[in-house]
């Protein structure tokens, strides 16, 4: 029970760090201006509303995922669920890295 909690705790911290790292990389790779990682909400939509990214930005994120995390996406449909929010993206990166 105790070990489980600890694992959960570490996972939370880890995911938080990954989310922050992803925010910085999204800002860098998309050349977003006048915005800091702290201003990006974990759950806010990346596309449509929120940062208002578009399909070409999504492709830029595909390149970023390959460059920093070694995750290769050949079909944009594969990445679509991951691009819902920073939290979804972090979970996707985590899953693909450990799988």
């Amino acid at each position: 029970m105790c070990g489980n909690l600890r694992a959960k705790f570490y996972e939370l911290i880890y995911m938080d760090a990954l989310a922050n790292e992803l925010k910085a990389r999204i800002i860098e790779s998309l050349r977003l201006q006048d915005i800091t990682p702290g201003q990006v909400d974990d759950d806010a939509p990346l596309f449509g509303a929120g940062l208002d990214l578009d399909s070409i930005d999504a492709l830029e994120l595909v390149v970023m995922l390959e460059k920093y995390y070694g995750i290769v996406i050949k079909d944009i449909e594969e990445g679509r669920p991951a691009f819902r929010s920073v939290r979804a993206l972090a979970a996707f990166v985590q899953a693909r890295r450990t799988s």
């Binding site: 070409i56 492709l59 390149v63 996406i73 050949k74 079909d75």
Partner: protein, 730 residues
């Protein structure tokens, strides 16, 4: 008013499945795809994916040595078409012109220069001489002796079809009797890397309309039609192959690369073509679809087909798997296919299709079949939501199209970015260090007009164009808005960043967001999205007369009532490559300084405008004879301009020194005809030398007219043979 539509008297084609109309039809009949693993260049990241390559050695096939790969492809197709039409231009050179779609231009050859520069640190700029998209047009015009209007249309994948439409309009308007019309594009690392970075390529070869489709296949080639006024064809007893009975253009005004999800723009273009031909959708017997094999295009196109044709969609096929997607050439190649289909009464199949996609619910023709064909339609859609549709008919069908109603056009707004201040420009790596004095617009002062996402996404050239368009757009001007934005070099900066990165990193870490912005029609497309302009959207490119070409296209939309208002203009940007290469070749000096800028003017029909800034009473395009004959040029101008109402000539002199004498001689000859000395002014001392500079000249002419001039002639020559005259009056 109605007029007989132009006819087709010759065809030429070179593409992956073979060279010549006969060879191509043999491949189509045999169901043989022309796709093979890429060998034209090495692709470290994507590998030898299935691609539609033309023969490597085009010179061995007779193509001239001078010219890029695209130019040579265009020349080969033009030669075949001219031979088939059995036409001799010697006696009708002035009445014969050329409009070709081209979007890759000399990129393939320029990449050799870049590779040497980046990998070996050596600067050998010779291969860049034919970089411009208009290069193929100049080559074809010069080699075959054409002196009529000449320009290229660079609207990405719809270029070839839009070029044919533009040529048809020129014939309808009486600007020419014969036009070579089509498109030519070679493969290049730029478009290769670009389409791959957008995840739009299916390594297994494209499967248009199939449930498992996963992208397109790239290809290359050229298609050329001899388009002729029916009168002219009859006069010389030419064999008529088919009739171009309708053409239509539209813009999605939706997104830089993705089609409108419901195919709204595609519907508008098909309906415009039917309307122009005066045909009901029910008489169309076959549709050659754009059918690239990408998920989005094929779905949107199928929805559009159902909207236009309802329950009874005629037989449809995409021939992309035969050729690969030859970009600007594809619309022209498919036009050749459509004319042959009519002639042979056979419907070409859609190789690559096996499984019906329930979302599409449309099964293309899977095997060649005989059919009674009277009217066939060809669809072409491009980046920027740029759509062009052509309808070809049996020669004997009496199809009438709407005749243009030429009219003076009112200028209702003007927006200018530039001229820039003269200052030192440093040349950056990978080029050898150096400096050039240039007229630079610097940091764009009005960038605040744009949203943060527009500033982030759009390259400098597109930003300049958008700012000029926002300033020049007369907001009360009407619903159906056309955009024609000329450019000489297009988005050089954006393209350079993309391809430098691709070459230096061997295609790793691609830059997908840089590719869509690198197409020549990026500016026109973004203006359309910004202002909701859904009529024609064009990016003509014709060197120094790029602006006048845009002006012609915009005015033609008003004359044919395809638009209520038009935004016309031109834009070009400073970039280290022309700065450095121009320095090396000794172009830049005290007199000739490079410049940049954008100008957009709002146009509306004169009779519908109460208080215009000025009126454009004439615009005419053509080519001059070499050696230059000033008296002949003055005749050419006096034939369309009443010199009584002209006070001044405003010329493109003080750019290329070799042209200055020609300009002066023509002004002298015109003064002689007018019986008084016409005032003579130039504008390039103010804005510098760049291809779009005559757009700035136009804004100066409008100002001069507002200050009391009764008429200003804007006269422009390109060092490669093109010329334009434009008359601006109160």
């Amino acid at each position: 008013m109605a007029a007989r539509s132009p006819v087709i008297t010759g065809l030429g084609i070179v593409a992956a499945p073979g060279r010549g109309v006969g060879a191509i039809w043999d491949a189509i009949r045999g169901g043989t795809s022309g796709l093979k693993p890429l060998t034209l260049f090495a692709s470290p990241r994507y590998g030898p994916v299935l691609t539609g390559e033309a023969p490597h050695d085009l010179i061995a096939l007779g193509a001239p040595v001078r010219g890029s790969r695209s130019d040579q492809l265009g020349w080969l197709a033009a030669r075949e078409a001219i031979a088939a039409a059995e036409i001799d231009f010697k006696n009708c050179a002035e009445r014969a012109g050329v409009v070709l779609g081209c979007s890759v231009g000399g990129s393939f050859d320029s990449e050799r220069f870049l590779t040497t520069l980046i990998k070996r640190g050596k600067m050998h700029p010779r291969p860049t001489r034919f970089h411009e998209c208009v290069s193929v047009v100049d080559l074809v015009a010069d080699e075959f002796g054409l002196l009529g209007p000449s320009l290229a249309v660079a609207t990405a994948c719809s270029s070839g079809a839009l070029a044919i439409a533009t040529a048809a309009e020129m014939i309808q308007a009486g600007e020419a009797d014969v036009m070579l019309a089509g498109g030519a594009d070679s493969l290049s690392r730029m478009t290769w890397g670009g389409f791959h970075s957008l995840l739009l390529v299916d390594a297994a070869g494209c499967r248009p309309f199939d449930a498992g489709r996963a992208g397109t296949s790239l290809g290359e080639g050229a298609g050329v039609l001899v388009l002729e006024a029916e009168e002219s064809a009859r006069r010389r007893g030419a064999k008529v192959l088919a009739r171009l009975s309708g053409w239509g253009a539209s813009c999605d005004a939706h997104h830089a690369t993705a089609p409108h999800p419901e195919g709204a723009g595609a519907v508008a273009a098909m309906q415009a073509a039917l309307r122009r031909a005066g045909l009901a959708s029910s008489v169309i017997n076959y549709v050659n679809a754009h059918g690239t094999g990408t998920r989005d295009n094929d779905l949107a196109e199928s929805k559009a087909l159902k909207t236009v044709f309802g329950e009874r969609v005629p037989p449809v096929s995409s021939t992309k798997r035969f050729f690969g997607h030859a970009l600007a050439a594809s619309g022209a190649i498919e036009a050749v296919v459509c004319v042959e289909a009519l002639r042979r009464q056979e419907i070409p199949p859609n190789p690559g299709f096996t499984t019906l996609d329930p979302a599409i619910g449309l099964e293309p023709v899977t095997a060649l079949r005989s059919a009674s064909l009277t009217h066939v339609m060809s669809n072409s859609f491009g980046f920027g939501g740029n759509n062009a549709v052509l309808i070809f008919s049996q020669p004997e069908t009496p199809v009438l199209t709407r005749a243009p109603r030429p009219t003076p056009v009112a200028v209702t707004g003007i927006g200018v970015v530039g001229p820039g201040a003269v200052g030192v420009r440093e040349i950056e790596p990978p080029l050898p260090a150096g400096t050039v004095m240039a007229h630079s617009c610097g940091a764009l002062a009005d960038a605040a007009l744009l949203t943060p996402n527009q500033r982030r996404r759009f390259c400098r050239l597109v930003q300049m164009a958008l700012i000029a368009a926002r300033r020049g757009h007369a907001p009360d001007s009407a619903q159906r808005l056309a955009v024609a934005m000329g450019t000489g070099f297009g988005c050089l900066e954006e393209g350079a960043v993309f391809i430098e990165n691709s070459i230096s990193k061997d295609e790793q870490e691609p830059m997908p967001s840089r590719f869509p912005g690198s197409v020549h029609n990026a500016a026109a497309a973004q203006i359309a999205i910004d202002l909701g302009a859904r009529a024609l959207n064009s990016a003509p490119t014709a060197g120094e007369i790029s602006f006048e070409s845009a002006l012609w296209q915009g005015m033609s939309q008003l004359a044919t009532d395809e638009a209520d208002a038009a935004l016309v203009g031109a834009v070009d940007e400073l970039n280290k490559y022309p700065l450095a290469i121009g320095s090396r070749w000794g172009f830049w000096n005290e007199q000739t300084r490079p410049g940049e800028g954008a100008m957009v003017a709002s146009l509306a029909r004169s009779e519908k405008t109460a208080a215009p800034l000025a009126r454009v009473t004439t615009v005419r395009l053509g080519r001059y004879r070499r050696p230059f004959d000033a008296a002949r040029e003055a005749d050419w101008i006096a034939a369309v301009v009443d010199l009584k109402n002209v006070d001044m000539v405003l010329s493109g002199a003080k750019g290329w020194p070799a042209l200055d004498e020609n300009y002066t001689a023509v002004v002298t000859a015109l003064s002689k005809r007018a019986g008084r000395t016409l005032e003579y002014q130039t504008y390039k001392q103010l804005c510098g030398e760049f291809h779009a500079a005559s757009a700035f000249g136009f804004s100066v002419a409008v100002d001069l007219v507002r200050q009391g001039k009764r008429g200003v002639l804007l006269y422009t020559l390109s060092p490669r043979g093109a010329k334009a005259i434009c008359c601006i009056q109160p």
